[in-house]
Symmetry: D3
Subunit: 227 residues, 6 copies
């Protein structure tokens, strides 16, 4: 049952490029508040950002063998998404694997496990989002699969899905929805830019979003403090 | 029962200004080791600092409606303190609300929940202390209250209380004690500055604080290692 | 039973110096994946690094008295390793104690508890690895011991052991093994440097480590995606 | 600032008795979803239940001295509510203190800390709700206060408040609201009893609560699976 | 996008019945160590057990409206599997909903959230596996979906999948694999029964599983203690 | 470096028997508040109790091979203490291994990892204390050691040490101290029995322990409530 699926579908580079300037929170909203991984996934350095296409890796717990297998399946623009079949926060990934992935043009790693060599990854600028930081080594004893659908940090990921990750977290966009979600995200961002300008000039969300009537209907009352 | 109290009391600006150069640990000590929020509250970027007067917001879980309501009640020098009635680490707050608060002169947010748009908040220099970082959106369906006493991260906060927050955490000083606690904090800091100079020159706390006798009375003994 | 052992053994300065350029993950691997403290121990600022000889401090919970006692036992090149007899994440350590330790040439602190004055420690460049950040003060009421063997974050530490800490965590090397583990670590690093160069040029771990046959024997198969 | 306040107000015994048959969830709902302590507070044995009037105890961390002081202030029908000024999960309470409290007619303990002697407490039927179970002893070195307002597990508790605790958690009812909240809780329970009977006969909440129209207005649609 | 899918496929009753006597650990092993939900899911009372067919419910956080909607879609033999779109440990489920589900022959609930009315559920014998126990109420303001594929506690669940839950946790078996996994589980159990009898008579796993040679090859050595 | 040490020292059966009636909290106090494992170790069923001599097992993470090896080294009266070299909460232990250990007269297991087959272990009355409950299987791929000193849940354990475990947790008594700690524990228990009788008759700890003067010296004051 352990299989490496080769040549998974990918998203057109110009669509992926469109996501590069968007935030995870914006895309998550734009696709109906779906696709967000659990917040325990954190970047290993502040300011990390990546957008790319998922190559998925199903690992045995505390065993990083399949990460080595997965490297060969990667192309420029990919993001590796890896999860063990049961949780273990050992350090599955470090500088050497990062060097290897970077050499193939991979843009980052999303790992439901532990990561090590944080100082080196920071220097290299190879972004990793992980559940933990740990120097604990793993073994190479049990095989798994590459490019199978898997659940990572609470989200189902298929090979070829769009992955966007930044300081806020990680959002998954299904491959077939990558184009419409990009359009919806840009529309949302344009609207937010307009609102941001209004907020900077002192407008209130109460007025901008027309909330006052709904609040009054819910029964919200105003009283002077201490009155 | 959902009420917005307007015009809560505030602390004189010169007193708040006095806190600007003090550390949370110093003030916490100076007021008898009280008022410290739980340590799970962390700044969303390193080096965050804020001192101001509390505007409090009681939220429904995973619902940020009342943050929009609270903006209108804020003045320059305020810090918003918000907590849901039951814990949920969704992302209640992001860049747009921060822009709106910053436009009114608000100095920061203390939020017992999740925060998003970390990269933008870092760029803006708008400091937030939160329980979690999460891009997960919230709804606007249930009302709450503004400027009521509430418990946030284990501390009771009244509107108008002094809030001081830095990399170490968040301390609450009751409004009526803001002046004497400031004096006590400065006295403590002066003493610490004197001690710091002595420590830099190699003095020992054992001597500086006169601990040797008390330790001996407790029964502490010295022996050569391996002897 | 509370004793301060004076003049514990130390490791030769040139051996400690050898560790200064090595990573925790490398040393942990080089000594057979032993000696790593639990990953809940984190540096209080990014980029922290230290190598030194352990002075150990056994504390009462929420009581930092023995840290003051320990300062006097420290020499240049030491790292203080402190753990309470039961866990409490109060803030045992801050700027003044750091100033005192730095004045004696101590290189850092490993503390299974809470740390405060993070902004000042960052400015000073005095590295601390701790379980928590907390401004909560501690008392000085119960004595403990200095330079006894103790368990810190899951590892047994003897006075005089080698402590190496960086962004990845903390590894303990028994004093008597400090020289051979240094040699093994350097050998490992040399090998990794060679491999790194190969990875940068696009070599695959599958080939470099000769994994293909073992994977096939385990039953790993390759199939075209969607085929 | 450490004070024992004697003879706090109490709630009439017949009102407290009225709460004995009610559940925490019911009372929490009946008072507008307020007053519930954080869910990390758990009974030390299944089936624990208690209703009574709060005697509050503010403890130093890992120090149970004030629990001994509090015993003298207790009367039959009281429940002791104790919280340290900073969190520590040491074992503040065990069989001997339970024997002493039981001898005075105290009905239980709510403790934001650790509890020990679980087997004995189970045998005695003395219910405790705590954050942790731990055999770790505490010291008697720092004083605190009895019968001051305090925050326990996220809720403000005044001496004399009504405390109701069961397998679901702990709810606090302000003393002055104890009578009306009892009436509201009973009304709620009567309504729930009527609904329970309808549910047992197969009625649907969709019909009983008239939800179908609101769901349709929100846009809920029904489709055959796989259709 | 909120839809209730009616009449999802179900598994033949005789196959579900076959799972009733099996343990979660056995079935998990028998299907290749897949399908196990995260271990933070715990039964609300000891000794809980259930086997049935999944009806899935996607909830808004801290909102239990869709549980009411789901009841109507249930048949005897079903198990409801419910997860919010972002985590919140409020109390989504209690006695009244349990009464309603029990009246329709539902065998249990798997809920990635909080559960209340534990004493009543225990008395009723209606088993629930949840992330938390909490009396905190939820709202009915946002719709979701019924009988869509969802991720619950780290596992993808489709409507009609086999759910088996006991004191050890919860395992999901895809509907189309329910029959062969049942056969494999029974075979495994028969083998374990035979081994159990041998272990009771004192046989060693070392001999029964023929491990001695492999251990020696790995380099395991035996030495007298202290020798 | 993987070695099985055979025939470790054991404690005389009559001394171990003496611990059978004592509580973990009592023994922990009697040996100076040392030796207590971390409170995250919990019995898998309520009322579990065991006293015995440690056989230690150092495991690879998520690998239970060495537990099979350890069985052969056990004698009646032993308790197995097992910890992985890095944390993983997979299910290392279940019914079959319990049957095998029980057949050799082993009294229980202390496991810094996950345990499965809880229902069966409860029925058998084979007590296990573990960090987690998980049905997740482990592999048999990496060897470790038996009867080496190891750190389990924060305590150093040598083969032959006395292990006492109950609902409160687990305490380790060094083999050479087993006799004097037993005597001290019995003395403490006798004293507690006398005090318990006094508490039952209504005596106060304030008087029994003569605390009133020390409290007054610390500055504790008494005031009427609201006065």
């Amino acid at each position: 049952m352990s299989t490496v699926y080769t040549n998974p579908p990918r998203i057109a580079a110009e669509i992926v490029a469109g996501y590069a300037g968007l935030g995870v929170a914006t895309v998550h909203e734009a696709q109906g508040r779906t696709g967000l991984m659990q917040p325990y996934m954190r970047p290993v350095y502040a300011g990390a950002r990546a957008a790319g296409t998922a190559v998925t890796v199903s690992l045995a717990p505390a065993d990083n063998w399949m990460l080595h297998v997965a490297v060969e399946q990667c192309q420029p623009g990919d993001i590796v998404v890896a999860a063990p079949t049961s949780l273990s926060d050992a350090g599955y990934f470090g500088e050497l694997l990062a060097t290897s992935l970077a050499a193939r043009g991979v843009r980052g790693l999303v790992l439901e496990g532990g990561c090590r060599d944080i100082a080196e990854l920071t220097r290299m600028g190879f972004p990793v989002w992980s559940r933990a930081i740990s120097a604990q080594g793993t073994v190479k004893g049990t095989i798994g699969s590459v490019n199978v659908p898997l659940v990572c940090a609470g989200q189902l990921v298929h090979p070829g899905d769009l992955i966007l990750a930044d300081d806020d977290g990680i959002v998954v966009v299904a491959r077939e929805r990558a184009a419409p979600v990009l359009a919806a995200s840009r529309a949302r961002e344009a609207k937010e830019a307009a609102n941001r300008a209004r907020f900077e000039r002192g407008a209130l969300g109460l007025d901008l979003y027309g909330m006052r009537e709904a609040l009054a209907q819910k029964g919200l009352t105003y009283k002077p403090y201490g009155g």
